[in-house]
Symmetry: C2
Subunit: 424 residues, 2 copies
Amino acid sequence: MLFRFEETAHVTKEELSAQAPNLEPYLERLNRVAEADNYMYEESSINLPFDAEIVEKVLKLREKYVSPKLRYILDIGIGGSNLGTKAIYDSMYGYFDLVEPDRFPKMIFADTNDPAFIYKLYEFLRTHITDPREMVINAISKSGRTTETIVNLDIITSNVPFAKDRLVITTDFNSDLWKTARSLDIDCLPIPGKVGGRYSVFSSVGLFPLACQGVDISELLKGAMEARRECLNKNPLKNPAAVSAIIIFANYIKGKLINDQFFFHPELESLGKWYRQLMAESIGKDGKGVTPTVSIGSTDLHSMGQLYLGGIKDKLFTFVSTKNPKIDISVPQEPLLEILSEVEEKTTSEVMNAILGGVKAAFLKHDLPFMEIMLDNISPLSLGQFMQFKMVEIMILGKLLGVNAFDQPSVESYKQETRKILRS
Amino acid sequence: MLFRFEETAHVTKEELSAQAPNLEPYLERLNRVAEADNYMYEESSINLPFDAEIVEKVLKLREKYVSPKLRYILDIGIGGSNLGTKAIYDSMYGYFDLVEPDRFPKMIFADTNDPAFIYKLYEFLRTHITDPREMVINAISKSGRTTETIVNLDIITSNVPFAKDRLVITTDFNSDLWKTARSLDIDCLPIPGKVGGRYSVFSSVGLFPLACQGVDISELLKGAMEARRECLNKNPLKNPAAVSAIIIFANYIKGKLINDQFFFHPELESLGKWYRQLMAESIGKDGKGVTPTVSIGSTDLHSMGQLYLGGIKDKLFTFVSTKNPKIDISVPQEPLLEILSEVEEKTTSEVMNAILGGVKAAFLKHDLPFMEIMLDNISPLSLGQFMQFKMVEIMILGKLLGVNAFDQPSVESYKQETRKILRS
C-alpha cells in the first residue's frame, strides 16, 4: 500500500512537525494497548488481528456450517455489524454478483426493514433452499437489542424452513440475545466487550461470514497486522495513520468540512461506506466533525466532478486506486465503431489511469487538496491493510479533534423517540 | 406526492414571500418554454413528457428488439446517460435482483471502465447468451464521444457474439457516433439537441431501456406531466419546486452547504444518486454550490446518524418516504427469539415509520432543518412526479444562485488532461 500526500495535501512539513509532539503520548498509549494484548481498552480493537482464539472459534463453526452445497450466506445486521463484511464481500465478489450468477456461495445482506426487500428475501429462501446445507444465516448485534436486526431475525426465522438450524448469532457474551439463543441451542459467537461495532470487522463479526464465503481471513488479518505495525510507529511523521489524521485535521481547521474518499474501482464503494460510518460516528460530535462522502471514479466525474472542480472548495479528497489489477483487457485495434482513436489498443487500466492522472492534474490546477492511497490490488491482504490503517487514523483524528472516538451518544435521542412511538 | 416543510425547514413565511417576486419572471419564462413546446431553450426538457413522437420511436424499436425471450438489457452509458434509467430500474427491480434470480429481463449497467467488471461482463454474455433475442444492448452518449462509453462499446462489440445485431445507439442526431452507426445499419435514437444529459431521463435516453425492461413509460410520463403542471404554477408560494428551491437557497445562505436526501427505502438509493448529479452539476460552479449527499433510512442512522445529530450543523435534509407501500409484512406474535416485545405483531412499515418519526422528533429537538416528501408508493407514476419536480426545482435554484444550471464548464479541465495522457 502506497500513501502519498507531499505537495498535494495542502499541509507543509512545518505544519506536520508542529502537530507531531501532540500525538506522541497517544501513540505511546496505542503501543501500551498493543503490548497489553487484551480487550480492556477502547483502542483494543487493534489487537483483533492477532487473536488466534477468535479465528479458531470462527473456523470451527465454519466447518460445521460450510460444505460445497452452500449457496447463500444471509448476513442480518446493520451499521458496524455488517458494513465491514459488506465492504470486503462487495470488493471481492458482490459487485460482480449479477454477471456471475453461477458462482456460489453468494452473500445476502439484510440491514434495514424494507418491506419489499424482506418479503422478497424470505419468499426467495423459502422457494430456493431445498437442502438446509445450502444456507447459513448469521445475525449480528452487539447489544443484542438492535431493532432492525431483531425484526429481520424474527421474520426470517418464522418464515424460512430450516432457519433455526442454520443460524449463528454474533453478539456480546451473555446479552439477552446470547442467553435466549443458547437456551434454544443456537450457536453463538462473542464480540470482545470493549470493541465497538465500527471497529469490529476483524472480530467474529466480520470473520465468520467472510470465512463462510471463502475469503482467506488469514490474509485479511495479515494485512491488518502489517498496517498495525506501521501505524503504531511512535514517530508521528513516519506513521501513515498519524500523518493522514494530521492532514485531515489541518484541512478541517482551514474549512475543509467534507472528506471525500474517491475510489477508482466501483467495487470499492462499500469500503467507502464502511469508512463513512467509521469517520462519521467516531468524530461527528460535540458540534465538531467532518462529513465523509464516497465518490467512484470515473462514474462520479460525470456527476460530482463539476462541483468538485468549480464549486465551493470545502473538501479534502483521498484518491484510492490499485497498482497491479489482477485482470486487464484491451480495447481492440480496429473496433466496430471507430470513434476515439486515442483509446484503441489501450487497456482499460491504462484508460482509468489516464483519467485518474487527468483528475489529479486538474485538482492541482484548481488548488484542491488531496491524498493518494494505492493498494497493491483488490485482495484480502490489501483490504486488511487499508481497514486497519483507517481505524488507527480515526482514533488519532479523534485525539486531534478532542472528541471521544469510541462513543455515539447522540443516536440514543432518535432511538428513544422511536421506542416511544413503538410502545404507544 | 406530499411535500411538507412548514415549521421544520427553518424558513419563515416572510422569507418565502420575500423571495417570491424574484422568481416570478423565471416562472413566466418556464411557462413560455412549455407553451413553445419545442427544444429551442435550455429548459426545454420540461417538454419531454408530452412528446408523443419520442414515445412512438421508442415503442417501435422496443417492438423490434423485445420478445418474451429477452433476458438482459445492457445499458452502456455514464452520468446523465444512465443515472435516470438506473434510478428507476433499481427502485422497481434492481435492488431485488439478487433475491429474484428468475425474474427477467434484468438490466446490467456498464458505466466506468473497471477492468474486472468489464471482463466478467463480456465473459458472462459470451457464455450465457445463446440466442440473440436474449439480449439488447443500448449505448448512450449525447456527444457520441464519451471515453468510457466508447471503450465499453468497443470491448463488448468485439467480444460478444450477436452484439452488433442487438445494439441500439442513443446519441445526438448526426454526431460522429450516429453517422458511424448508421453506416453500419445500427439503429439509432436521437436526443433533442438542447436537452442536457442530467435532464434527459424522459427522452429516449431513459425511455428506451426502461420500455424494454417493461416499465410502464406512459405512467412515468403521466407522473412527470402532473408534476410539471404543479411546478409551473406562476405563484411561487403555491409552486412546490419554487418553494423547495427557496428553502435550499435560504439554508445555503445560512451556511447549510450540504443537502442530504434521506430516503427511507433502500431501493431508492440510485434515485438519490440521480439527484446528486442533477444538483452538483447544475449549481456547483462559480465557487458556489451545495454538496448533495444521499442517506438511506434506517441503514445510515447506524452510520451517519451520530454526525447528523451531534456534529456540525451544516446540512439541510429532505426525508423521502412512501405512504402506501405495495407490500407489507408482520413481525410474528411469538417469534423464535423473544427479545423486543415492542416490535411483535408490528408490520415492517410500522417499524420503519416509527423510526422515521423518531428521527424527525430528534431532528426537531436538535434544531436540524428538514423538508419531507411522501411518495404514494414506489411506482413509475410516483418516480415520474419526483424526478420532474426535482428537475424544475434545480432550474429555479440555479436562478436563485445566479448560476447557469445547464452547463458544466469545469469538467472539461480534467478531460483535457486525460486526453493529453491518452495521446502521449
